[in-house]
């Protein structure tokens, strides 16, 4: 079976999973207590006459499509979702598509930067500890990484706020940009990076801890292989052996872990966003839940589901890229 067919098969399967999860979610949201129409109409209930309110209520309900039977509501909603109509946010009084742009940018930016930081630090660190295994350097990194991935991110967040924002006020405690900042261009980018420093630092710690350990374990396994001995016996430079021959093979298990870590990272950033008041998707999800804004919550949830499934696809593709031997006929 060729790579193309395999990937197609996976894609079809993933679309299937997507629909199952979306049905599950739709069912959960529909069983939520609280009436979105009442919430949308807000104070009109007390200010309007009962029969006029009833008429407005029915009208709003029909305009939101809430008077249809559930399966029809689901398909209407799915159709809208696939065409980018994520529904009407009762909280922002706007189409959801119009309000998720900025938060999505913020979240993706935060997570991408974290990924860059984590990979830049953990992969060389993992290789270095594997090469010098059981030395003093390796031992101390081992201890630090186990501490790093064991401690919950919000504790690291509190610690870093205490140290880097309160005791030594180097970085701002929260937000995206300085209040009243009118900076443009490069200065605005700098200001944003300065605000991102703490959240990125906090999110990186557990990632560095986990991935360094995986890279190290995978590298140690690979370095014991015969082909590494062969490469060394050939007289290749140690750098070539490690970075070209060994590392590429060590990447296979690392890819799996990394994919799951990235998916988890986006989910975990909900906590970080709420600590650092970072206006991203996680904060929007929480606000949406508190405000009973179904459309926003559903969209956010869909985003996380799509992200998780995309992670699966990327993992499959990445396997074929890092290791041509991987036969994709599972």
């Amino acid at each position: 079976m060729g790579k193309g067919r395999y990937l197609l098969k996976r894609l079809i399967y993933i679309v299937f999973v997507f629909f199952i999860i979306s049905i599950l979610m739709f069912w959960i949201y529909k069983s939520m207590p609280g009436d979105p129409v009442d919430i949308m109409l807000g104070s009109s209930k007390t200010t309007m006459k009962p029969d006029a309110y009833q008429a407005l209520y029915e009208k709003t309900k029909a305009s939101l499509g809430l008077d249809q039977p559930l399966p029809i509501q689901y398909f209407a909603w799915m159709g809208n979702m696939l065409t980018g109509h994520f529904g009407y946010s009762t909280q922002y009084k706007q189409e959801v598509i119009n309000v998720i742009g900025a938060p999505m940018f913020n979240t993706v930016l935060l997570n991408l930067l974290t990924m860059v930081v984590v990979f830049v630090i953990s992969i060389p660190l993992g290789i270095a500890t594997a090469v010098r295994k059981n030395g003093a350097f390796d031992k101390s990194v081992q201890v630090l990484t186990i501490v790093g991935y064991s401690i919950p991110t919000f504790i690291i967040a509190l610690l870093s706020i205490f140290l880097l924002a309160v005791k030594f006020p180097i970085f701002p405690i929260s937000g995206v940009r300085s209040a009243g900042s009118t900076a443009t261009g490069l200065a605005a980018v700098g200001d944003m990076l300065w605000h991102m420093a703490l959240p990125v630092l906090v999110m990186s710690v557990s990632g560095i801890g986990g991935i360094t350990r995986y890279v190290r374990a995978a590298m140690i396994d690979v370095l014991r292989m015969d082909y590494i001995k062969t490469a060394r016996a050939k007289g290749l430079r140690e750098k070539t052996v490690i970075y070209i021959h060994a590392f590429r093979n060590a990447l296979i298990p690392v890819v799996t872990v990394t994919t799951w870590w990235v998916v988890g990272l986006f989910g975990g950033s909900i906590v970080i966003e709420s600590v650092f008041l970072w206006p991203g998707l996680g904060k929007m999800l929480i606000d949406g839940l508190l405000q009973r804004d179904f459309a926003v919550v559903l969209t956010m949830q869909m985003f996380y589901v799509v992200l998780s499934l995309a992670g699966n696809v990327i993992m499959d593709v990445a396997y074929t890229m890092v290791d041509p031997r991987v036969r994709l006929d599972g």
Partner: protein, 601 residues
């Protein structure tokens, strides 16, 4: 079955004999070790893992057993004890005062004392810095009485001039003109919750500060006829010169239902935050009000002997005819455990502590000494909350792991053993569940389903959500191990014997892969604790008033708390950190112990 033999006396002879005899059992000298025993043996030698075991077991045992010795009322709150730092200095009377005390007064988390020369001493934890600015003696002259309140102090000198320091907002600094100049004989002063009270010998009462909580109103004919007053955060009551108890309010409450038979006969009066007590001239104590903290349960054997009474926040202390003291009411901090063998001259009670000056002039103190880990913004003892919070966090984690392990074993076991279509179906199911974004889904489920249910049901819900979403990892692992084991001879043997499939999977294969499952469950336990804490931290897990280590940190999210009230986040964070690190170390150690190959790493 893999049974490794270990030779205890590994001499060359035995080795040679073994080479000849192959794998035959060598009776006496051969000790048969099961895989589990081997794992335990290797694990015990791992120092880091054993440190983890010791630390975790210690915290675990503390959380399970210490709450029996430090009981907690989850619904208890007390703003007067809010944000008190850790320490036990509240009852540490300065040595200069020990034999020379004139007057002592218990404040919210600090105390103030006066020696016979009129010098003022303060000790304990101060709610604000202004309290430390004691006016100099050149300014005040010789002070004769002091009273400590929530966050301010009132004092009077021998000329009847009143002074105040500490919190000066809410009008606490605006002492009435008559009292500022002196010349009155002040009989009693009182610093309360944002209010100050003073009573002259003529029976005139003055109050200044905020009377928002107390809404003092003087019934006709009371002013000028007051013998003594008592105050709590809810009400002020006075004892008139005719021996009658009069509440200074026009609202009816449990406090105003004064027993008729004592009117005209009362000699002393005291209030707590939920009830009132009066001593009549025949030495009996009458109480009325609410009885949640047992303030109404006067010990029978002191009736008829009581001469005076004082009240704290939820307890009473009575002085008997022979000079001994007795306490009753709330005893959370030992404030009702009056010392048995002292003869006192005067007693002052307030909040959660008492001071008594004995007849020979020394000072005895009992009650709240302080908090080991401080208190939170609602005045709750952090140490007690950490103990029950730990119990909650661990219970939620443990039950979630049990749920996920059981599901994982069943799904993985059936999938691995059956193979084919069943395997395919179950693995797709596993994949679907593992595709569900974990944290967002937990948040949504707990916020939607957790809306209309009780707190206990909510906790059970959290356990189930965690358990139901975290089994795919274990299921995959079990499936893999079962796939490897099912081709072994012992399975064929079991099949030949006619053992049912269910029996083969769970009675024959499972014991062989149990070590792998244990390791995974251990690591999963740490993950579940972390997830529960994260959920509770952002407010979608276990909610107040139930404590978990996660929701104890919720209130510590802003810079002010992080900077000024460090104990509110350091202690829960430390506990949670130590526990998860320990569990991960244990898991790692177990994994190394199981997989001999990993020792080379």
């Amino acid at each position: 079955m893999r049974k490794d033999k270990k030779n205890k006396r590994s001499t060359a002879a035995v080795a040679a004999q073994r080479m000849v005899l192959g794998g035959l059992p060598q009776e006496e000298e051969e000790v048969l070790q099961s895989p589990l025993q081997m794992v335990v043996g290797a694990f015990v030698k791992d120092k880091i893992a054993m440190t983890g075991v010791v630390l975790f077991t210690f915290i675990f045992l503390c959380c399970i057993f210490l709450p029996f010795f430090f009981p907690i009322d989850l619904y208890y709150q007390d703003v007067t004890q809010a944000n008190v730092g850790p320490g036990f200095g509240m009852l540490k009377v300065p040595s200069q005062l020990k034999n020379n005390a004139q007057d002592l007064s218990v404040g919210s988390s600090f105390s103030v004392g006066l020696d016979k020369d009129g010098n003022v001493y303060e000790w304990g934890t101060f709610p604000n810095e202004k309290l430390k600015k004691i006016p100099s003696s050149s300014e005040t002259g010789k002070l004769v009485q002091v009273s400590a309140g929530l966050d301010h102090v009132v004092a009077v000198n021998e000329d009847g001039q009143i002074f105040t320091w500490g919190n000066d907002r809410m009008g606490l600094a605006s002492i009435p003109m008559d009292l500022r100049t002196g010349g009155n004989d002040i009989k009693q002063i009182y610093a309360g919750y944002q209010i100050s009270l003073a009573l002259t010998e003529d029976g005139e009462m003055y109050n200044w500060g905020s009377d928002y909580l107390l809404s003092i109103s003087y019934p006709e004919g009371v002013q000028g006829n007051i013998e003594k007053f008592a105050a709590s955060t809810n009400i002020v009551m006075v004892l008139t010169k005719d021996g009658e108890v009069v509440p200074l309010t026009n609202k009816t409450s449990a406090y105003t239902q004064i027993p008729e038979e004592i009117q005209g006969n009362v000699v002393d009066l005291a209030l707590t935050d939920e009830c009132a007590a009066a001593v009549t001239s025949d030495g009996r104590v009458y109480t009325w009000g609410n009885n949640i903290k047992k303030g109404l349960d006067v010990p029978e054997n002191i009736q008829g002997q009581v001469v005076s009474i004082t009240g704290g926040r939820y307890h009473f202390t009575a002085v008997l005819q022979d000079g001994t003291v007795r306490g009753w009411g709330d005893n959370t901090h030992g404030q009702a455990n009056a010392p048995k063998d002292v003869t006192v001259a005067s007693v002052d009670s307030g909040y959660y502590a008492n001071y008594a000056i004995t007849e020979d002039g020394s000072v005895v103190a009992w009650g709240l000494k302080g908090y080991l880990m401080g208190t939170d913004d609602l005045g709750r003892d952090l140490f007690r909350r950490i103990l029950v919070g730990g119990r909650m966090t661990m219970t939620v984690g443990a039950i979630a792991v049990i749920i996920s392990t059981i599901i994982g074993i069943v799904v993985g076991g059936i999938s691995g053993y059956k193979g084919g279509k069943v395997d395919n179906l179950l693995m797709r199911l596993t994949e679907i569940v593992s595709s569900i974004p974990f944290l967002p889904f937990c948040i949504i489920l707990s916020s939607i389903l957790g809306n209309s249910i009780s707190e206990t049901q909510r906790i059970i819900l959290i356990m189930c959500i965690l358990g139901l979403l975290s089994w795919p990892g274990i299921a995959r692992l079990v499936r893999g191990s079962v796939l490897a084991e099912r081709e072994q001879e012992f399975v064929t043997a079991a099949k030949a014997l006619g053992v049912k499939e269910f029996g083969i999977i769970f009675r024959h294969i499972l014991p062989n892969i149990i070590t792998v499952i244990i390791v995974n469950a251990t690591l999963n336990f740490a993950t579940c604790m972390l997830t529960e804490s994260s959920l509770s931290f952002i407010g979608f897990g276990v909610t107040e008033p139930n404590a978990t280590w996660g929701n104890m940190l919720t209130g510590a999210q802003n810079g002010q708390v992080i900077e000024n009230y460090w104990w509110r986040w350091v202690f829960p964070a430390l506990m949670l950190g130590i526990c998860t690190i320990s569990i991960n170390c244990i898991g790692d150690g177990l994994r190394d112990a199981i997989d001999p190959k990993s020792k080379e790493r």
